[in-house]
């Protein structure tokens, strides 16, 4: 099936005006599949790290949200071991007016504002609540270990 105009336009704009700290490059053989990197926001435990993600646009995109997953290991209460992300705009609060760039910005913002009250990784969230400093320290260590290029 031909690629919808919307996806073509989004891709073009991502290339022409990339979002600072974020890259998204489509695969040549499947233009709905993107290799993504997101830089950890400054003043967060993920600062200095570059995180790899994969993003896939399903057939009925933009009526349904893109599927996004972290490939780089990350210690975060809303991201589980498999890299799945708990973020409202990726699920119930998706709107077809949102775009790849806005979603990736939301994910970057999630790194800057972890929300242990709505956890996906229960153990991490638990620790985040009990001993935030230690949890942040672990997040920092994981960033240094896995997210440095």
């Amino acid at each position: 099936m031909a690629l919808p105009k919307r996806i073509i336009k989004e891709t073009e704009r991502l290339m022409a005006e990339p979002v600072p700290g974020i890259t998204a490059v489509p695969h040549e053989e499947n233009l709905r599949y993107f290799d993504v990197t997101v830089d950890g926001p400054s003043q967060s435990p993920y600062e200095g790290g570059t995180f790899k993600l994969e993003l896939f646009l399903p057939d009925d995109y933009p009526m349904t949200p893109p599927k996004v997953r972290f490939l780089t290991k990350i210690y975060h209460p809303n991201i589980d071991r498999l890299g799945r992300i708990c973020l409202d705009v990726l699920k119930s609060n998706w709107s077809p007016a949102l775009q790849i760039r806005t979603i990736l910005l939301s994910i970057q913002a999630l790194l800057g504002a972890p929300n242990p009250d709505d956890p996906l990784a229960n153990d991490v969230a638990q620790r985040w609540k009990e001993d935030q400093n230690a949890a942040i320290q672990t997040a920092r260590e994981w960033t240094a270990q896995y997210a440095k290029v």
Binding site: E17, S95, A97
Partner: protein, 462 residues
């Protein structure tokens, strides 16, 4: 030395109008002025080295002492204060004149300067000043030799009851006043020039807008062709981002160099796409020529502004280096007071996009936010957000009730009353080709809905 020459060269060779050149910052004159200030100050033993040394010791004392602000630890103060007190009914149109002041703390009782590090010449001079201003009538005697008596007492000096009281004496700065006077009047002169230029360019933009809008009003095939041409020209213009870049990476105003490059690229692209003389109406080529002229004039203005800003900055830096008085930090104050419009480019570009570019509707402003194609046929939801009918149908079929833009629950209730007829007419008039194409796409998509995916291939000969 070097800058003075390049500055002059720019002024002479860059083809600025004569009255601009005359109003430019008189760098050389100001430099001479600085020299005089220097002489004046060193006459009373306050050359740059002494002053900067005084400042440094003052800073050290401050750093070492408690963290409370301690004005009195500063041996002297250099302020640029508005000249005289302004009356209530004095108008703002007169920019405040700045009067530089060099203030020294002296003992009220003895007239002796408070700082031990001052050279004998300076001490003597300050004392004389104090005498002449009748602050004290006691001569300096050698016994009075404890000026930095008790640093802790000093903090509450002025208001205190237990320590000595202090007064300040003002050292008259004649050449210095001259320096700032000159600089300031030149800056306001430049501001006037800029205002004039802004006015002139704005009215040119307005005239041009009228011409273009008349030319592109769709009524016959001739004007429809020209509408397309102008749309492409303006699209290219916007894409070139000559004076401002709107990208998220650096959303700032471009400097001269980048703007010049942008304008060059724009002109080259026009040439390449053969847009220069492909107009059906006679005024087309002339109007485009005018448009380019406005832009290059704006570019000149930008350059003129830039070199003058540079000259101002350089001369203030020089002033600081020679006198150590710290004028650059005060300069912010001057710029604030003298109404130097931030940028000529900003004002005129706003005019261009509000008037001129608006005469030719751009497709980008009429896209459906879901499919990114032209919003045909436009459906206006109760929240006033507009989508194409195709995307609305799909949303309703998916039972997605929330408006994609504002999340209001208004999608399901939409029906044929929500079709925006006046916008339909507008789109048809200004974007006939895009509408036709989108209409076909919509029909095909509807066919697919009814007959399945194979609908597209119905013409295949079996």
């Amino acid at each position: 030395m070097k800058f003075a020459r390049t500055f002059k060269q720019h002024l002479l060779e860059d083809g600025f109008p004569e009255h601009w050149v005359e109003s430019a910052i008189s760098y050389r004159k100001l430099k001479k002025c600085i020299k005089k200030v220097e002489e004046e100050l060193s006459e009373i033993g306050l050359d740059a080295d002494t002053l900067s040394l005084l400042l440094k010791t003052a800073e050290k004392n401050q750093g070492a002492g408690s963290d409370t602000e301690d004005q009195e630890e500063k041996p002297f103060q250099y302020v640029l204060s508005p000249k005289g007190s302004r009356g209530q009914n004095e108008e703002k149109s007169y920019p405040t004149k700045f009067q530089p002041k060099l203030l020294f703390m002296i003992d009220e009782a003895t007239g002796e300067p408070l700082h031990a590090k001052l050279s004998p010449e300076t001490k003597q001079y300050l004392h004389q000043l104090a005498l002449s201003e009748n602050i004290t009538d006691i001569r300096i005697t050698d016994e009075q030799d404890d000026p930095k008596a008790n640093p802790t007492d000093r903090k509450n000096s002025l208001a205190s009851t237990n320590s000595r009281s202090y007064r300040t004496v003002e050292v008259p700065l004649i050449s210095d006043s001259q320096f700032f006077g000159t600089l300031q009047s030149e800056l306001s002169g430049l501001a006037t020039i800029q205002k004039e230029e802004e006015k002139k360019l704005s009215s040119e933009v307005e005239d041009l807008s009228n011409v273009v809008s008349k030319m592109t009003k769709p009524k016959d095939s001739k004007s429809k062709h020209d509408l397309q041409q102008w749309r492409r020209i303006f699209e290219l213009y916007l894409d070139s981002r000559i004076f401002f870049s709107t990208s998220e990476r650096d959303p700032w105003a471009n400097n001269y160099e980048r703007a010049a490059k942008g304008l060059g690229n724009f002109a080259a692209e026009l040439q390449k796409q053969g847009l220069y003389d492909d107009f059906k109406s006679k005024e087309g080529a002339l109007a485009l020529h005018k448009f380019l002229n406005i832009n290059s004039e704006l570019l000149q203005g930008l350059k003129f502004q830039e070199i003058n800003n540079m000259a101002t900055m350089k001369i203030l830096k020089k002033f600081d280096k020679r006198t150590a008085l710290g004028a650059t930090s005060n300069a912010a104050l001057i710029f604030q007071q003298t109404p130097i419009p931030a940028s000529l480019a900003r004002a005129v570009c706003a005019e261009i996009s509000n008037h001129l570019l608006a005469t030719v509707p751009q497709l980008d402003d009429y896209l459906c936010p879901v499919c990114f194609s032209i919003a045909w046929r436009p459906v206006r939801l109760q929240c006033q957000h507009v989508f194409c009918i195709r995307c609305l149908i799909v949303m309703q079929r998916d039972k997605q009730d929330h408006c994609p833009l504002c999340r209001k629950k208004v999608v399901m209730e939409a029906d044929s009353d929500n079709l925006d007829d006046s916008m339909s007419r507008f789109l048809k008039k200004y974007f006939p080709e895009e509408v036709k194409k989108k209409q076909k796409e919509n029909e095909r998509a509807a066919g697919r809905d009814t007959y399945g995916e194979l609908y597209d291939e119905k013409c295949r000969v079996m």
